[in-house]
């Protein structure tokens, strides 16, 4: 009985259940275990813009920071992400904090009730912060602004950061990935609210930044490609993105090592379509025959390179911006700040191994793009300007003859020789990021003129306004060249922008198959961005390379570029093969075979390569250009300028159109790109240089070398003539064809047409001015002027004389005072020459003397009453009393009120023509200008 009783008791005792623990409720959801963060293995980190507002004024989806390698640590108040130290880890140096967030430490334990552990979880306040195993982070409190993490500065002068919040449901903390998304609200400053912002109420915008951290990939598993140094010849041969790592050598001297960025060549790498990727475009990537991935794998497979890439659909677990994954992302929504394509990659900061990459392509503009082509064809017939006709007249050739001098490439091995020589005459910027950072560029000719002639500004207010705008443009551009941010930062150069330059040469585009046009554009953009993803930089010599080959016997004249990494005009972009081009194949095989495969070796001369920073001063290296030779390139640039007029200068259905500043910048670039050809003529392909450099190149015999050298010089001369003729044609452009004034709609005041005054100002500045810029970095920043060209290259003198004299006498349709500005450009350029060489020849050409009536009678023995309203030529005068006209056969005299202006027809041919044209104000202006420059007189003084 007793035993039974005891047994029953025991059974009942054993029946006691464990009450479920009341778990600590963490409603915020951002309570993380420290051990996940505080790992021995470093984390690789990146920030990516994953969403942005419609009409976003800055930032676009896919924009990303440079990756950083670091460790997490916790202090009493912060979670810090601290850069991995490589050297002197025990030294006094403080930690390099990449980012830091406010945290509170937390630890959950069972609540103690009456001294005993309970079944309720609660915060453990009985232990110090460093013993607590968890923390709660306020990720919105990042010390480093999101945008400071990006490799380039975004325009934030107008935007205040209002608030930041963590996006719900996007946080992930595991041992393999730490990620959160911050929604940052920006507010437009009041002073920046323009009408567009006012009407669209775009006063604020929200950008989502995904922070993504992954454990550092296994470095030992990747064999890096190390350049021999910053002067490794490979840098000039193939353009790859690279990673520079600074360490310290045995003597504690900083030492840079250059790693090629590339994927692990021994592996297969996966890209994912982002969620909701449009099915209609997947073929571009996954088509088994022409898909970008198939073409890439086929290239590698064919040469026995083990690297492979695969594309997969997204199962929802691969979120865009996750540093571990690579994506193909198409954006269909309009986005004002977005380019056409963007293809950044994330490389390990120590080895250059590409960990992930993404291609983003914006498709929303494509249909409109086709419409633009359609309209371009319609407008072409009616809007063709007299610029081209005037140019043909000036140069004395019809348009089809403009680049006839390029035909030398058809002879023998001239094309291959030329291709060999181009890299020899492709120059790097003076100074690199490693040695000699800043380029002291300054486009200040216009400034000088404006400052020296305050009276002119008052007298010609309308023109002065236009000049002031151009001044502002020049100032901004000078700054850009000085800092060289754009040209030096490879991070920027994976974006592909749509510009009006793409619209060149649209006449021959077949518009019957709209889908094919869109497919062609998308494919080319897609493979271009994927090229960036693989490690290729831009190659703007793609067009030059292809066109050289096109001139060769059996070459394909329709091949637009030897690289998909070029920027092509729309016309060139269409109808190209769906595949990598030959340069790309060579570069990819070289990189992924560790340099073992180099198909360039099968050719007589290497493939051509030039990239973003080369475009600064090399006239053959341009975006959106086409052509093999200087004359072809110049011709195409001129045609591109003309083709784009209808979209550049007309509203063309734009909801908002304020072309002001960007128009000035665009005109600067058009005119400056052409001017570079003058410097090129001075410094490249000289006969001696060609002969010298061809000694190393066994394709040419001596006679051929001479013939080749002459042919190239002839073509370059043709290019310079085209440039000058073009400048002159723009300056002389009649306002009947193309108005120099802006045209407004009478009833609404809306701008309907942008005048070409900026075109004329920049054309005259670069034709007559002498702003300095370099080409060969060892030949300095000397002024580049038509006058030095004239004196250094006599073969150009007659052509130059005729053309500058023409615009010197009459500047064409433009605001009052424009001709005087042209004359001033000439005068100040001539004055610079005088200052340097004390040679007065150029200044003399524009000299006008001023006499009172009495003095004039004494000097020339001609009573003023004999002078009419028109200029009079005086051939009989005493040269002894007129030392200024020693040896002169005929002096032109023009009476202006109670003074007489004179100029010698031989000694002062340009000013004499002005007087002969009875241009009284012009004569007075020239006289005054001469006196100010030569004698420093503030106002006109007559003897």
């Amino acid at each position: 009985m007793n035993i039974r009783f005891i047994l029953i008791i025991l059974v009942m005792v054993s029946c006691v259940k464990k009450r479920p623990v009341e778990k600590f409720l963490d409603f915020d959801g951002d309570r993380w275990e420290k051990s996940t963060f505080l790992t021995e293995r470093p984390w690789l980190y990146r920030v990516t813009v994953v969403k942005n507002g419609l009409n976003s004024k800055f930032g676009f989806v896919g924009m990303q920071s440079t990756p950083r390698l670091g460790f997490f640590d916790v202090t009493q108040s912060q979670l810090r992400f601290v850069e991995v130290k490589t050297n002197y880890a025990d030294g006094p140096n403080t930690d390099k904090v990449i980012n830091a967030w406010d945290i509170s430490h937390t630890d959950i334990h069972r609540k103690v009730v009456d001294g005993r552990t309970s079944n309720v979880e609660t915060e453990n306040d009985t232990i110090p912060w460093y013993e607590k195993k968890f923390f709660k982070a306020d990720f919105t409190s990042a010390e480093v602004k999101e945008r400071a993490n990006f490799p380039f500065e975004l325009e934030d002068d107008c935007w205040d950061k209002l608030s930041t919040k963590v996006v719900d449901g996007e946080q992930e903390v595991t041992s393999q990935h730490i990620s959160f998304v911050l929604a940052v609200n920006y507010q437009l400053k009041e002073r920046c609210i323009d009408q567009v912002a006012y009407n669209t109420t775009d006063f604020n915008l929200t950008i989502h930044y995904r922070y993504s951290f992954m454990p550092e990939p296994d470095v030992a598993a990747y064999p890096p490609y190390v350049y021999t140094g910053e002067n490794d010849p490979l840098m000039e041969k193939y353009g790859y993105f690279n990673t520079t790592v600074m360490t310290y050598d045995a003597n504690n001297r900083p030492k840079n090592t250059f790693y090629m960025n590339r994927w692990n060549p021994d592996k297969t790498h996966t890209f994912y379509f982002t969620e909701n990727f449009p099915e209609e475009y997947k073929w571009i990537y996954n088509d088994p025959e022409v898909g970008v991935f198939a073409r890439t794998n086929k290239l590698f497979e064919g040469k026995g390179v083990p690297t492979r890439f695969e594309i997969k659909d997204n199962d929802g677990s691969q979120k865009f911006g996750d540093i571990r994954y690579s994506f193909i992302h198409f954006v269909n929504e309009p986005d004002l700040s977005a380019p056409l394509g963007y293809g950044p990659s994330t490389a390990h900061p120590r080895t250059g191994e590409i960990i992930s990459a993404h291609s983003v392509i914006w498709t929303n503009d494509l249909k409109w793009y086709v419409q633009r082509v359609r309209d371009a064809q319609k407008n072409k017939a009616t809007l063709r300007s007299s610029v081209l006709a005037e140019l043909s007249k000036t140069i004395g050739q019809t348009e089809d003859q403009w680049s006839a001098t390029s035909s030398f490439l058809k002879e023998g091995n001239f094309a291959e020789t030329y291709r060999y020589l181009i890299p020899e005459f492709t120059f790097e910027l003076p100074g690199t990021g490693f040695a000699g950072r800043e380029v002291p560029m300054e486009f200040d000719t216009l400034d000088k003129i404006m400052k020296n002639q305050p009276g002119f500004v008052d007298a010609n207010r309308e023109l002065a306004q236009q000049l002031t705008r151009s001044q502002a443009t020049l100032q901004k551009i000078s700054e850009q060249y000085r800092t060289r941010e754009y040209y030096n930062d490879p991070g920027l150069s994976t974006r592909y922008d749509l510009t009006e330059n793409q619209l060149a040469g649209l006449a021959d585009v077949d518009l019957s198959n709209e889908k094919k046009i869109i497919d062609d554009i998308l494919y080319r953009v897609a493979i271009h961005e994927f090229g960036h993803n693989l490690n290729l930089r831009h190659n703007f010599y793609g067009t030059v390379g292809a066109k050289i080959d096109g001139h060769k016997e059996g070459g394909d004249p329709n091949k637009a570029s030897s690289s998909v990494m070029d920027y092509l005009t729309l016309q060139d972009e269409l109808g190209q093969v769906y595949d990598w081009e030959i340069y790309d194949q060579a570069a990819l095989l070289y990189a992924y075979s560790n340099g073992k495969l180099d198909i360039a070796k099968d050719r007589a001369a290497p493939f051509l390569f030039c990239t973003d920073h080369h475009t600064a001063f090399n006239p053959m290296c341009n975006r959106f250009d086409s052509g093999a030779t200087p004359s072809e390139i110049v011709k195409n640039q001129i045609l591109a300028y003309d083709d784009a007029y209808w979209i550049r200068n007309f509203r063309y259905g734009r909801s908002y159109w304020n072309p002001g500043e960007s128009y000035g910048g665009s005109m600067f670039q058009t005119m400056f790109n052409l001017k570079k050809m003058m410097r090129f003529y001075e410094q490249a392909f000289s006969t001696a240089d060609v002969r010298d450099k061809l000694r190393k190149f066994p394709l040419m015999d001596a006679a051929s070398t001479t013939r080749f050298g002459t042919a190239v010089r002839t073509d370059m001369q043709q290019a310079v003539k085209l440039v000058l003729s073009f400048y002159k044609s723009v300056i002389k452009q009649s306002s009947f064809d193309r108005s120099f004034t802006d045209v407004y709609e009478k009833s609404t005041g809306a701008l309907v047409q942008q005048g070409i005054s900026s075109d004329k100002i920049f054309a005259s500045l670069f034709m007559m001015g002498d702003d300095a810029f370099p080409l060969d970095p060892n030949r300095g920043f000397t002024p580049v002027s038509i006058l030095s060209l004239r004196s250094n290259f006599p073969e150009l003198k007659p052509f130059v004389d005729a053309n500058i004299s023409d615009i010197f006498i009459e500047g064409g349709d433009m605001y009052a005072g424009f001709t005087d500005i042209i004359r001033s450009f000439y005068a100040f350029t001539a004055a610079s020459t005088y200052e340097v060489s004390s040679d007065l020849t150029d200044l003399q050409q524009m000299r006008v003397n001023c006499y009172t009536l009495g003095t004039f009678l004494t000097r020339f023995n001609v009573p003023a009453t004999n002078l009419t309203d028109s200029a009079t030529e005086i051939t009989q005068f005493n040269q002894a009393t007129n030392p200024d006209y020693q040896g002169e056969l005929s002096v032109v005299a023009l009476k202006v009120g109670d003074i007489v202006l004179t100029a010698g027809k031989t000694l002062n041919p340009m000013s004499a023509k002005v007087l002969l044209a009875n241009d009284k104000p012009g004569g007075r202006y020239l006289s005054s200008l001469y006196q100010r420059i030569v004698y420093g007189r503030p106002s006109l003084t007559c003897e």
């Binding site: 006691v16 464990k18 009450r19 009341e22 069972r110 009730v113 001294g115 005993r116 309970s118």
Partner: protein, 281 residues
């Protein structure tokens, strides 16, 4: 919740285990009553310097099954004069059912008794925490060396049968570990004087063992296993035949208070006086 728990603990301390305390007293009275039925009503007012006043009322009934065996049933109610937001003004405590055996001792001076009791879980607390019952067994002995003076000693234990190892959580409770069993040792003395007046004391030492609700050894400490406590009551009173009035002082505390490392012998928060009246119908 916390206050209510404390009050219950307090009452247990003041009157000991209600079942045990009542039955012990009633046993002695029952011996003197010839009728097999007995009903008692009692009211106790408790007050202390640091304690809010409490009134407790109890109703007990007993039936003598034999000369030395009695079945008892008692029910008590508590009235709190100050309740917090979650507390109740009137609290019905668990009912108590007991069986008392008081055989005739070997001599006039020495007697033995024992009792077996169990509670009926009618209180809100028991229902909320799903405590089925508390069963206790007590064995004691009285020694009367001199007629008006009796010395008592005894020991006992109780076992708590409950569905879970801890109080309810969330809104219903603190999740605190529930007692599993308790062992008591008691010693008392009582002096009768002036025919119906009495004076006495009662000292109980208890050790209560709790369910161990957390498995992690690292987190366990001795207090997770048991509490040691004592209770001392000193009282005096007068019995008017059917009515007894008692005035007493009670002090009882855990020997080791939570958060303190030292033993505590006096806790003013657990010190109180009480005035009790009881009558047997």
């Amino acid at each position: 919740m916390r206050i209510r728990g404390s009050i219950i603990t307090l009452l247990l301390l003041v009157i000991g285990n209600p079942a045990l305390a009542n039955t012990t007293l009633k046993t002695r009275k029952a011996v003197k009553k010839p009728s097999p039925f007995s009903v008692s009503v009692g009211v106790t007012q408790l007050a202390g310097a640091r304690i809010n006043p409490i009134t407790q009322a109890s109703l007990s009934a007993s039936y003598s099954l034999a000369d030395s065996l009695k079945l008892g049933l008692s029910q008590s109610l508590t009235r709190n004069y100050l309740v917090n937001r979650e507390g109740d003004e009137f609290v019905i405590n668990d009912s108590s059912l007991s069986l008392t055996l008081a055989p005739k001792g070997p001599s006039e001076k020495l007697s033995f008794y024992s009792s077996l009791g169990t509670t009926l879980p009618i209180s809100e607390r028991s229902q909320r925490h799903e405590i089925h019952t508390v069963t206790d067994l007590f064995v004691g002995s009285d020694y009367t060396p001199w007629k008006p003076f009796t010395l008592g000693a005894g020991f006992g234990g109780s076992y708590h049968f409950s569905k879970y190892d801890s109080e309810a959580t969330g809104e219903l409770g603190s999740g605190a570990a529930l007692p599993q069993y308790r062992l008591d040792v008691e010693q008392s003395a009582r002096l009768r004087f002036l025919k119906s007046a009495f004076l006495g004391y009662n000292f109980t030492f208890s050790e209560t063992y709790y369910y161990k609700i957390q498995d992690e050894a690292a987190n366990s400490n001795p207090r997770d296993i048991s509490d040691q406590s004592y209770q001392l009551k000193v009282y005096t009173g007068y019995s008017f035949g059917f009515l007894a009035i008692t005035l007493g002082f009670s002090q009882g505390t855990l020997l080791e208070l939570p958060g303190l490392k030292d033993y505590v012998l006096f806790d003013e928060e657990r010190t109180m006086g009480y005035l009790a009246m009881s009558t047997t119908l």
